[in-house]
Subunit: 341 residues, 2 copies
Amino acid sequence: MAQQKIRNMEEFSAISGISRPTVSKFFHDPDSVRLSTRARIEAAIEKYDYRPNIFAMNQNRKLTKNVGIVVPLLADPYFAEIARNLEQRCLDAGYRPTLFSAHGDPDLEVEVLDNLRSMKPAGVLIAPLGRASNVRALEKFSEDVPTLIFDSSVEEIGLGFVGSDNMQFTAHISDYLCRTGEPPCFFEMKTPANPNAHRRRQSYLNAMEKFGFTPQVVSVEGEGWAFEEIGRLGGHKALSEGQFSTNTILCSNDRLAIGLLTACYERGIRVGRTEGCSIRVAGQDGHPHSRYTCPPLTTISHDYDAVSKHAADALFAAIDGHVEPWKSTRLEGKLIMRDSA
Amino acid sequence: MAQQKIRNMEEFSAISGISRPTVSKFFHDPDSVRLSTRARIEAAIEKYDYRPNIFAMNQNRKLTKNVGIVVPLLADPYFAEIARNLEQRCLDAGYRPTLFSAHGDPDLEVEVLDNLRSMKPAGVLIAPLGRASNVRALEKFSEDVPTLIFDSSVEEIGLGFVGSDNMQFTAHISDYLCRTGEPPCFFEMKTPANPNAHRRRQSYLNAMEKFGFTPQVVSVEGEGWAFEEIGRLGGHKALSEGQFSTNTILCSNDRLAIGLLTACYERGIRVGRTEGCSIRVAGQDGHPHSRYTCPPLTTISHDYDAVSKHAADALFAAIDGHVEPWKSTRLEGKLIMRDSA
DNA sequence: CCAATTTCTTTACGCGCGTAAATTTTTTGT
DNA sequence: ACAAAAAATTTACGCGCGTAAAGAAATTGG
């Protein structure tokens, strides 16, 4: 296939019989050249396996095809999953996605942004750390680079926000829990990493009021992103002190619920809705792991596909010049009933 | 701080009072210039917030500072964790790491390699998909780019291999299980994604022979990387058909064990080593999630830190020109005793 | 078949930086 | 303080491609 090494576009254009500017145009957008020349170029690419030097390309192009995808913690399978989804969409749309994780560290998040800048990306999809984020840095960044915020909204920054409707999440699952047993207590972190948590608490309070029940929020100590451990330790404390006034616990998120389940296990408390179980536990997020907890976790799941599709499409539209006012899109989740509640 | 926008190294050198070649040299290696000039340059950087254009840099440099980190599945927290570790080491060593995931797909793995090539990386750290990997493509790649294989060895490819000592893993935990209760059965996938699985099975067989017990391997159906689901379904089948001859099950990896635990739960089988429990389950890998299963999973853990350190150091040494013959480094794991076995 | 339009070719310059060679300046050792 | 060594400067070219302008060629429509 490769008869001779092509070193640059000059050589390639010579051997393919097409002028270099036309070849350059082709690589910028294959549809911008006549069908017959496109075919000739593509045949030559196939034959000589030539690819333009991306560094030289990006140096002069005002807009690269790079897209940054930034998540707060890649070790969290929820973010890994949505990042994978976004990555695929970028690829399909002809962009070059690059994955970044802040690893739960606000300073690293700023560093990532700095790094990203030097890549002159066409756009960036970012799920901010949340409360700990350097909002000023984010805002400044979004002024220079088309930026779409997803998962966790901070302010009216960037092109817009796409995420889940946390109010609906909690309303829906609270409703379910109230109808099928004792009204839930709400289990959360005192200082949550993520502003979604506040919406969820508020929605819980609303739901309880609607049903005429007395709400009870248990807020546990703990900083950072080790939610399982925070849930486990907080769970132990709350359980030993009898802080839960009912037999049903709605957790602010699935990872907290997973930790709570572990605490329950360690205390010999049977969780579930069947006979012999003393409490019910539910989560929120539809975490990839929630299916495999013991008992499997009842939760309300993000619509991963819809969130990533909306986010990616909104970014691509903006890159293509379709200016739109800042908009917040919040998608509904769906209840996944399992054994835990 | 920023009085005036610096557009390129020319302007920067003018305003900082240092010639451009020296500035260029500085950015290549700050230690290569006199301390006093280094200080002046760094002061100017601070003052004008200048950063060289990475595309222009990488275009001419024969060796970039890019390092690729490739894992088979980023959605697996084990890989996410080790990737994070490697990423940090690259950063600390002055490289620019970029994360890639094959998402369990051999074709994507080849695409990633292709993509990586165009980045002209100084080196690549890759955990191959394993059995499904296109070994030829990997080999060809490793001839062009300094490549260090980690986690899962395929052949004597690249600079070397760094991973865990799977024989030791299984020997150690088998030993533990044999000494503390009934000898284990071995629970694995019939067609494992990863060659480590074969070593583990073999080591299990060896251990059983050493103890004079009859080994029993239960190999379950299932393709791909959804190990939990494969473990759950295979667990149901094996349990319903009474395929386990003892009350102890050693799983080929933690994710399989997690699925098996779920199957046990769903069948009402109590897992653990305390009274009232009918079977013991152990895993292998020290998966980040293993602490939070119910019961918490007894496992033998990779030495994440040591593996990533050895892998990164070996790559950096090779990049720095320290040629060494191909070498396989396998690090021991340590037993983590929890409630499941 | 010819004019209008589209597409391609030729020519040329610039991007921001790496890097080499020759020269000048600064530092080092004694 | 002086010669040797080290470091910085000046000058100049190249990397691979984007891109603009002007003209030539191919395509289209009637």
